[in-house]
């Protein structure tokens, strides 16, 4: 029997349709096979696709959100993938690009603000945590970033202040040290008088 899972947020609604995978003994209200999904945005075209498109959406949006929590804005997805997301070129938002599998259909680009992106992330979280969805989703586990990935979020000027300040302080100390007069070499101690003069004939 066909099942419909529906999740709502203020700006969007996700609807996933599927069937229980009876070959592995799933019950009637479970979804083990996704047959289609639609994502409705307020005042925007409706998106729809197959299971692999939904998975691709989750595989780029959730890691992008994870990076944003660390203050790192890093585009996710490549030109040959069905879904890409990255910062909006004009600044102050994000751009979700969806490439259609239909020939001669131009890619759809959706500008999202921070609130709409959060809504989308919450929808995808609701879906992946729904106990009725009983299928493996190949999603990466969030991990702490590496030091060089975090460094990108610190402005270069701020990053260089400490090492440049240290180098400057060292150079100043060395310069001042060179200006100090070299202390004269210590006087040799006066020669001790001979204990006994040799007797002269």
């Amino acid at each position: 029997m066909k099942q419909t899972l529906r999740y709502d947020q203020l700006s969007c609604r996700l609807q996933v349709e599927g069937l229980p995978d009876v070959s592995i003994g799933q019950s009637g209200d479970a979804v083990g096979i996704i047959t289609g999904w639609t994502l409705q945005w307020q005042g925007r075209p409706e998106l729809e696709g197959r299971r692999e498109h939904l998975l691709a959406l989750m595989q780029v949006v959730l890691p992008y959100a994870r990076d944003l929590i660390s203050g790192v804005v890093r585009p996710r997805g490549t030109a040959d993938q069905p879904v890409r997301i990255g910062p909006a070129p004009e600044g102050g938002g994000h751009r979700l690009a969806l490439r259609s599998s239909q020939p001669e259909t131009p890619p759809l680009e959706l500008p999202l603000d921070d609130a709409e992106l959060s809504d989308l992330v919450r929808l995808l979280d609701q879906l992946r945590l729904d106990s009725r969805l009983q299928m493996h989703l190949d999603l990466p586990t969030p991990q702490p970033l590496r030091a060089r990935e975090v460094m990108g979020r610190v402005p270069r000027r701020q990053r260089l202040v400490a090492p440049l300040g240290g180098a400057l302080a060292l150079a100043l100390a060395a310069g001042l040290g060179l200006l100090l007069p070299v202390p004269p070499p210590p006087e040799p101690p006066p020669a001790a008088p001979a204990a006994s003069e040799p007797a002269t004939p």
């Binding site: 203020l10 959730l62 959100a65 994870r66 944003l68 929590i69 660390s70 203050g71 102050g92 938002g93 603000d113 921070d114 609130a115 709409e116 992106l117 959060s118 809504d119 992330v121 919450r122 995808l124 979280d125 609701q126 992946r128 945590l129 009983q134 299928m135 493996h136 989703l137 586990t141 969030p142 991990q143 702490p144 970033l145 590496r146 030091a147 975090v150 460094m151 610190v154 990053r159």
Partner: protein, 179 residues
């Protein structure tokens, strides 16, 4: 089938992570006037009474933030940090409509500015009351211009980490190395 809610092995948070965790909890208090009470209530509701038997114990864990006026040395047990993050995610979920309203660009500019000003005012009060004002990080957060990006980043982190689904994202982010 793997359980999607299952968390990966807990690890000890670095000092920078403890600092951000406490600042995020402070933002919750700035958004909700009863945030402190809500934190204790949520801890009880989520079954963390064994870890934080009372508000003093909860407060003592938060004092591991190095920016605090009275800071505590040492790190926190991974079970304690996980519990604090779970409480934070649950509180952020309750406050999500407010977080969303702060982040939405569709709202009129005047209303957005008013909301941010109110949030900044409350956060500044809490920061001045509890944090060491001689620390550069505190001065930056209190600065109306320099701190604006950091305040927005904290609100965005709360919005993206809200709810059960946000727990692993937020925990991974708090485990970032300091640079």
């Amino acid at each position: 089938m793997p359980d999607p809610t299952a968390a990966s092995a807990p690890t000890r948070l670095p000092r920078r992570g403890l600092e951000r965790l406490d600042l995020l909890l402070l933002c919750v208090e700035a958004l909700d006037l009863n945030g402190g009470e809500a934190m204790v209530w949520m801890s009880e509701q989520m079954g963390f009474t064994g870890l934080f038997p009372n508000r003093v114990e909860l407060w003592k864990r938060r004092c591991h933030n190095p920016l605090r006026r009275t800071t505590r040395r040492g790190g926190l047990d991974p079970a304690e940090t996980d519990a604090l993050i779970r409480i934070l995610c649950a509180l952020a979920d309750r406050l999500y409509p407010m977080l969303r309203a702060l982040l939405a660009s569709a709202e009129p500019e005047a209303i957005r500015q008013q909301r941010w000003a109110l949030f900044q005012e409350r956060l500044d009060e809490l920061v001045q009351e509890r944090m060491n004002a001689r620390r550069e990080g505190v001065q930056r957060l209190l600065d109306p211009e320099r701190g604006a990006a950091q305040r927005r980043q904290l609100i965005q982190a709360l919005a993206l980490g809200a709810g059960t689904g946000g727990f692993e994202r937020l925990r991974a982010s708090l485990g970032d190395p300091a640079v």
